[in-house]
Each structure stands twice: as structure tokens, then as C-alpha cells.
């Protein structure tokens, strides 16, 4: 990663941390939901800089789009102010620090960013690249991986998305059916 990308990444991460602190300090839940939208946009920017384009795509659709709307629907059902519960800030800080330190310790074993020797590039990627043309007969390697090598996985994902779509239709379509009811009676 060159110095320009590193700087952009660092600045975006600073923004991310500032947004997180601001969300934690806000009392108004609506404003918190709005700031979560910004948080999601920022993290998607970080993902793009880190070359994880597919994750950024998902973050765009789920984090900035759906999650904000879900949070707003929840606020509409409950209330806009959050009750002040007595919290123990020191204990929470200690917990967060310990978990964060454990996670950072875990990253030491990770391969370097963009390392060609990383396990992810050693295991099956070579076989996909060299033999998928003969084994599957599809010129596009990504397509043959998704549709054939991981066919069951893709089928499962499609089923999940289908179920989610039905769920959304059930939730959103409810009010429309109510509206047509009086017309049916009359």
C-alpha cells in the first residue's frame, strides 16, 4: 500500500473513530441513527481503500440503506429519547480494552496485506485458476467458482435472499392490504 492510500485510510479511520465516539455520547436516538449512516458510509470507504470491493458493496446496501431504515422503524415504535440507565464506565472501558487488545494480538498472526504467500492464495486458488477451464468449461473463473465449485453455497445464499425478500414484502405489504379492506366491504 503506497503512502497516499495509507494517508486516506488513516484519515477515514480517524473520522470513523470520531463518529463512533459521537454516537456513544448522543442522547437523541434519531441523531444516533443518522450518525450510524455516516459511520457505515465511512467504513465502506475504508473497505474500498483496502480493496474489499464486495464488502463495500454489501456495506453500501445493508449498512447505509437497510440498517438506517430498520433503526428508524424501531424508533418509530419505541421513542426518540433513551432512558438514562446508571452505567459503570470504568468496567465497560476495561472490558472493551481487554477485548480490543486480544483482537489486536490476533492480527499479529495475519499475513501481510496483499501477501502472495497468504494461505488464502495457496489452498485452492491455484487449482481454480489452472484447471477450472478444463473441469467446468466456463471461461470466467469467478462464475465457475460461484456456480459450480461452491454451487450449494450459492444455492443457500439465494434461498436466504429469497426468504428475506418474502419477509420484507410481508412486513411492508401489510398496510397496503389494510387500506383496500374498507373498499372491499363497500
Amino acid at each position: 500500500m503506497d503512502i497516499g492510500s495509507f494517508l486516506i485510510n488513516a484519515i477515514l479511520l480517524v473520522f470513523l473513530a470520531a463518529t463512533a465516539i459521537a454516537v456513544a455520547r448522543l442522547q437523541n436516538l434519531f441523531a444516533g441513527a443518522m450518525l450510524f449512516g455516516i459511520y457505515s458510509l465511512l467504513s465502506a470507504g475504508v473497505f474500498v481503500v483496502l480493496d474489499a470491493v464486495d464488502v463495500a458493496f454489501t456495506e453500501a446496501a445493508v449498512g447505509a440503506g437497510i440498517a438506517t431504515i430498520l433503526m428508524l422503524s424501531t424508533i418509530a415504535l419505541t421513542g426518540i429519547k433513551h432512558e438514562s440507565i446508571p452505567i459503570r464506565p470504568l468496567r465497560s472501558l476495561l472490558l472493551v480494552a481487554v477485548v480490543g487488545a486480544a483482537l489486536i494480538y490476533g492480527t499479529f498472526d495475519m499475513p501481510r496485506f496483499g501477501d502472495a504467500e497468504a494461505p488464502a492464495h495457496q489452498h485452492v486458488a491455484l487449482r481454480y485458476l489452472q484447471q477450472s477451464g478444463d473441469e467446468i468449461g466456463i471461461p470466467n473463473v469467478v462464475t465457475s467458482v460461484l456456480a459450480s465449485y461452491r454451487g450449494y453455497d450459492t444455492l443457500g445464499e439465494v434461498a436466504v435472499i429469497f426468504t428475506a425478500g418474502i419477509g420484507v414484502l410481508c412486513l411492508l405489504g401489510g398496510s397496503r392490504r389494510r387500506r383496500t379492506d374498507p373498499a372491499d366491504k363497500s
Binding site: 437523541n28 434519531f30 455516516i38 458510509l41 438506517t68 411492508l172
Partner: protein, 94 residues
């Protein structure tokens, strides 16, 4: 040259973030989020050119769309207090 554009957008992101943190009204925050979305679109497009791989503009495209939908949903929530209920009919509504 792209880095100058990226720097400008990053500075503006900081200013927009400050406005989103300060408020004071909810509309200011919605405006800041909407504006921030546009800046994210810009920075993804600029970054693609900066690294010499403008193939990821699709994400910027998705963002431009989602940002708009999100803003309208938020405003609908805020004006009518609900996302699913039918809006009351107002004859003077444009």
C-alpha cells in the same frame, strides 16, 4: 492531481462531520448525512482514478442511489412519524 481532489473531499468530509455532530436540529443532521453520502460517492470515484483502476465506479453508482432512497425514507419517517402507515391526505400537498 487526483490527490488534490481527494484532499478537498476529505476536508469537506471533516466539515460535514462537524455539522452532523453539532446538529442542532435533526434536519441539519439529515442534511449532513445526505451531503456526506455525496462526498463518499466522490471519494470512491476519485480513489479509483487515483489508483489507476476506475473499475469500481459501480459502488459509487450504488451509493448515489442508496443515499437518495435513504434520505427520502428518513424524511418520510420524520414528517409522518412512521414508515408503513398511509399518509394523511392533504389537498395542499405538492
Amino acid at each position: 492531481m487526483y490527490i488534490a481532489g481527494i484532499a478537498a473531499v476529505l476536508v469537506t468530509m471533516a466539515l460535514t462531520l462537524a455539522r452532523a455532530f453539532m446538529g442542532p436540529t435533526v434536519y441539519d443532521r439529515i442534511l449532513a448525512v445526505n451531503s456526506f453520502g455525496t462526498k463518499t460517492v466522490l471519494i470512491i470515484a476519485l480513489y479509483g482514478y487515483f489508483t489507476g483502476r476506475p473499475d469500481f465506479l459501480d459502488i459509487a453508482l450504488v451509493y448515489a442511489l442508496i443515499n437518495f432512497i435513504g434520505t427520502i425514507a428518513v424524511l418520510k419517517f420524520f414528517e409522518y412519524g412512521d414508515l408503513g402507515r398511509d399518509r394523511p391526505s392533504q389537498p395542499d400537498d405538492i
